[in-house]
């Protein structure tokens, strides 16, 4: 028994006596504790009910964010199964010799093929290079080069420009002229069809990975001596934390670590720093004590009835007592607002601006306007107060499974995942708890995991660079990474367009109509536009050509989206809708306010524009086909709002025409015109003149910053959220 041996503990149990103690400890067997099977079953049932509720609510923002990869993997898996089936089937067709030549490709039928890859075409027999290459036809018109694998069974068809064209349906046909090395011909032409993905968008800002706790620079500041809740405040300059421990001792700990200074040894509660940072108020023995830092002097204010909570309204003290909220007055004190006289009433917090207070009456939570004495209930019964925005203009309260962001009138602004919350001056809300620390913006966007581990009662420093928290019985401080940049108005509007088009693709008219305002609904009901595009050819995919911020009060974004109609497997027609989205003043969400549709264009009749990028001094127009460079000069023009042609210099490379030498004005209207004189490499002219209205590029604007102080620095370029391929 005393020969206890555990390799994990060898280095710390080197003493025989220690090993003997460990031996005794490890010799104790844990019997199965008394267990009521009904409890086990009942808990499982409760969990499953909760799980079903969670599944039904999975369209919330953070879950939606996780859905596409799952679908993509499922699609990829299904594709692999399909490919494997084709391969097996192909192999089974060749008993004792090849009866027929088969062609296949992993990307056949795919709808979002990456641009930077060759088109790989596989054969079930070794092929003759020359006749096979000569039999390859590719549309849209594309210059290609060829390469073969060692067995001559796989042909790589590589666009000479390096990349495939974006947003384009390709058809690669191997004609009957292709022969095997044994001289056998294809019985019939075989075609591979696929659609490419949108052009590469700027690299998205990577979501921070959970940090090991030491990566946050965690430092232990002080023991809380058994305090069950954190009663603390940062100094105004973010250099130290004032806190009350479990014995009622009020002390201050430097955030960089070091010796703690005791301000009062016991009986203290409710520390509150004045907005100017020059005074500290707290309650001790039913009296309010105010420490003025510069003078090192403590003044005592006798409150009647006794104060229970203290705060500040600018430079004046505000405190709660049993019957109301009070402030200082020349002759002593004056009541700002009474509290209800019925039920059990507890004041929980006074807003940082001293304009509102939060109290609980029995099981209900209320916000009290101190100027009107009017109370408003927050949420349902058992809601709990969770904090204020830094300026006090918004508040947080928790429900059974979420944190609600509300204004002082109780109107919900956003819903966040559950957690112990603290709102920073940088508009980041920390959500702490037993097992993790998360960060999210006040509008619910930008949710990121900061760290795994225990982070109770997070408390942001005023400068937003570090935060205090509780683990076990200890007050610690750490630095949190900054949140990714806020989505721009273009990103948000692009997301709405994406949802709108996806709903239409799925024939969900109700869901699509939900993204239209009254004017937008009228455009689709009376304006001749079809919300659902049924019949043959059918609506199969869409992509965004341009999106521009055209106004900022309110935010207004104009998006040109192209709808592609397909017959069988082939894209045959497309048309464009120009959508104008306006941010709703109440909900802050974009809705489609105006919509117009362009004329239908037949596909496969010459080069088509598939992507347009607008900068201040240049417009880049990408086609689906390789062009005859000699037809590009003069074939593309830019007109101003009065129809005057602007001077440009046209250059051409890799299917893209760049019109440079421009000086486009922010918000001004322009028109791109592609004339029918432009030809592809096979000599086909553009089938019909193509016009696209453009807007001079604007500075991108950030979304819904609430009560969080100075706006953040300008972000990097936004991802092209709306340029998703449908279908």
């Amino acid at each position: 028994m005393n020969s206890y041996h555990d390799p994990e503990l060898e280095d710390i149990l080197q003493d025989d006596e220690l090993r003997r103690v460990a031996a005794v400890l490890s010799s104790v067997r844990s019997p199965e504790p008394p267990l009521d099977d009904a409890f086990r079953t009942s808990l499982r049932r409760q969990l499953m009910q909760q799980a079903w509720a969670m599944s039904e609510g999975r369209n919330s923002w953070w879950r939606r964010a996780f859905a596409p990869p799952g679908l993509a993997w499922a699609g990829a898996a299904a594709g692999l199964v399909l490919i494997a089936s084709v391969v097996v089937w192909g192999a089974l067709q060749q008993p004792g010799g090849f009866q027929q030549v088969f062609v296949q490709s992993a990307i056949d039928g795919k709808s979002s093929v990456a641009l930077q890859q060759p088109i790989l075409v596989s054969f079930n027999q070794p092929m003759d290079h020359q006749t096979t290459q000569a039999a390859v036809q590719i549309t849209p018109a594309t210059n290609v080069t060829f390469a073969w694998d060692q067995n001559s069974r796989t042909l790589a068809v590589q666009p000479a420009s390096g990349n495939l064209a974006p947003n384009t349906q390709y058809q690669v046909t191997i004609g009957p002229g292709a022969k095997t090395q044994a001289g056998q011909k294809l019985a019939a032409p075989q075609t591979i069809t696929f659609v490419t993905q949108p052009p590469a968008s700027p690299a998205p800002v990577p979501s921070p990975r959970p940090s090991p706790s030491n990566a946050l620079g965690e430092k232990q500041l002080a023991s809380l001596n058994g305090a069950t809740t954190l009663s603390a405040q940062w100094s105004a300059d973010s250099s130290s934390i004032y806190f009350v421990d479990g014995k009622g001792q009020l002390a201050v700990a430097p955030a960089k670590g070091g010796a703690i200074t005791v301000i009062t040894p016991d009986g203290a509660s409710s520390p509150a720093i004045s907005p100017a940072g020059d005074r500290l108020a707290y309650i001790r023995g039913g009296k309010i004590e105010v420490l003025t830092f510069a003078a090192g002097k403590t003044d005592e204010i006798k409150a009647t009835p006794a104060a229970t909570l203290v705060g500040w309204a600018k430079d004046k003290l505000v405190w709660a007592a049993a019957d109301g909220i009070y402030t200082e007055a020349p002759n002593g004190q004056s009541q700002l607002a009474p509290l209800p006289s019925s039920g059990e009433v507890t004041v929980l917090s006074i807003a940082p601006d001293g304009v509102h207070a939060i109290y609980r009456q029995d099981q209900k939570l209320f916000v009290l306007d101190l100027s009107t004495a009017k109370s408003t209930q927050l949420g349902q019964a058992k809601a709990a107060f969770a904090g204020w925005s830094p300026g006090g203009a918004f508040l947080l309260y928790s429900t059974a499974d979420a944190i609600v962001v509300a204004d002082p009138q109780g109107v919900t602004q956003a819903t966040l995942p559950a957690g112990e919350a603290s709102w920073s001056t940088q508009d980041a809300i920390l959500l702490g708890g037993d097992t993790e620390l998360d960060q999210v913006r006040s509008d619910g966007t930008g949710f990121t995991r900061v760290a795994n581990g225990t982070y109770h009662s997070p408390l942001w420093a005023p400068n937003g660079t570090s935060f205090g928290f509780v683990r076990g019985d200890t007050l610690l401080v750490a630095a949190a990474p900054t949140l990714p940049p806020e989505p721009t108005a273009l990103d948000e509007a692009g997301g709405v367009v994406n949802n709108f088009m996806q709903a239409r693709l799925k024939n969900q008219s109700g869901e699509a109509a939900r993204l239209l305002d009254d004017s937008g609904k009228k455009a689709y009901a009376e304006g001749g536009l079809k919300l659902l595009v049924n019949g043959d050819p059918h609506f199969s995919r869409y992509y965004v050509l341009t999106q521009d911020l055209v106004a900022t009060a309110p935010d207004t974004v104009r998006v040109v989206v192209r709808l592609v109609l397909t017959h069988g497997k082939l894209d045959v027609t497309s048309y464009e809708e120009t959508l104008t989205l306006v941010r709703d003043a109440g909900t802050k969400q974009f809705l489609i306010d105006k919509a117009t549709a362009g004329t239908h264009r037949n596909l496969g009749k010459g080069a088509e524009v598939v992507s347009v990028e607008v900068a201040g001094d240049a417009v880049k127009v990408t086609f689906d086909s390789d062009l005859d460079p000699g037809t590009v000069g003069g074939g593309l023009v830019i007109l101003d709002s009065k129809g005057r042609q602007l001077d440009t210099t046209a250059s051409y490379a890799n299917r893209t025409v760049t019109l440079s030498g421009l000086d486009l004005k922010e918000g001004a209207q322009y028109r791109l015109v592609v004339l029918t004189t432009v030809r592809d490499i096979l000599g086909h002219n553009v089938a019909a003149e193509y016009d696209l209205d453009l807007v001079g590029p604007a500075v991108k604007k950030h979304g819904n910053r609430r009560d969080a102080g100075t706006p953040a620095a300008s972000p990097g370029p936004s991802p092209n959220a709306g340029a998703a391929s449908g279908g």
Binding site: E17, L25, A51, T435, T454
Partner: protein
């Protein structure tokens, strides 16, 4: 070489992350050990049921955001349990006598040794109860739940080194306070 049971568990966790309705399988697998651990700390059936409910309900709500750190899923459940118990300890002290829980029967030793050992075990675990909370938790997870140091570190939100230090301090203190300790041979 990958551990098939770990792979299987990872698969179950991934399923539950995508669809919380798959959480039932994880509950079935881990209920007994979590309940046993919770009971060992609170030693009262109703309290153990309350805390166990809290642990699994929290785990279910958090599973969509669970991230595999390479440690067993159970370590994460223990972490939630350790915190839930700590919260409860602030208001509820264990009430049941120690010997009601610790099974003092040990297979093999002679009767006289067994009697001596029962005394020692009772005494040692009585001393464990008087240790600081974190030392106590580390000792229970190591010697009673037979967990690896790395997994205890996850459960307690500490580094492996810190857990070893807690165990070392706990065992050292037990040695000092149980000077007449005599283990069963």
């Amino acid at each position: 070489m990958s551990d098939p049971s770990r792979d299987d568990e990872r698969h179950l966790v991934e399923l539950a992350k995508r669809d919380p309705r798959q959480f039932g399988e994880l509950y079935d697998r881990h209920f007994q050990q979590i309940y046993r651990f919770v009971y060992s700390r609170v030693r009262e059936q109703t309290a153990a049921e309350d805390v166990t409910s809290e642990v699994f309900m929290k785990a279910l709500k958090a599973i969509p955001r669970y991230q595999d750190t390479g440690r067993p899923f159970a370590a994460w459940l223990y972490q939630i349990a350790v915190n839930a118990i700590a919260d409860r300890y602030r208001t509820l002290r264990p009430a049941q006598p120690l010997e009601d829980f610790h099974d003092l029967s040990v297979a093999g030793p002679a009767l006289e040794d067994l009697a001596a050992h029962r005394d020692e075990v009772r005494r040692i675990w009585g001393l464990v109860e008087a240790l600081p909370h974190q030392q106590r938790t580390a000792l229970v997870l190591k010697f009673q739940e037979d967990m690896k140091i790395e997994d205890i570190a996850v459960a307690m939100g500490k580094s492996a080194g810190a857990v070893k230090l807690l165990i070392h301090r706990g065992v050292t203190r037990l040695r000092e306070e149980a000077s007449s300790l005599r283990p069963v041979e």
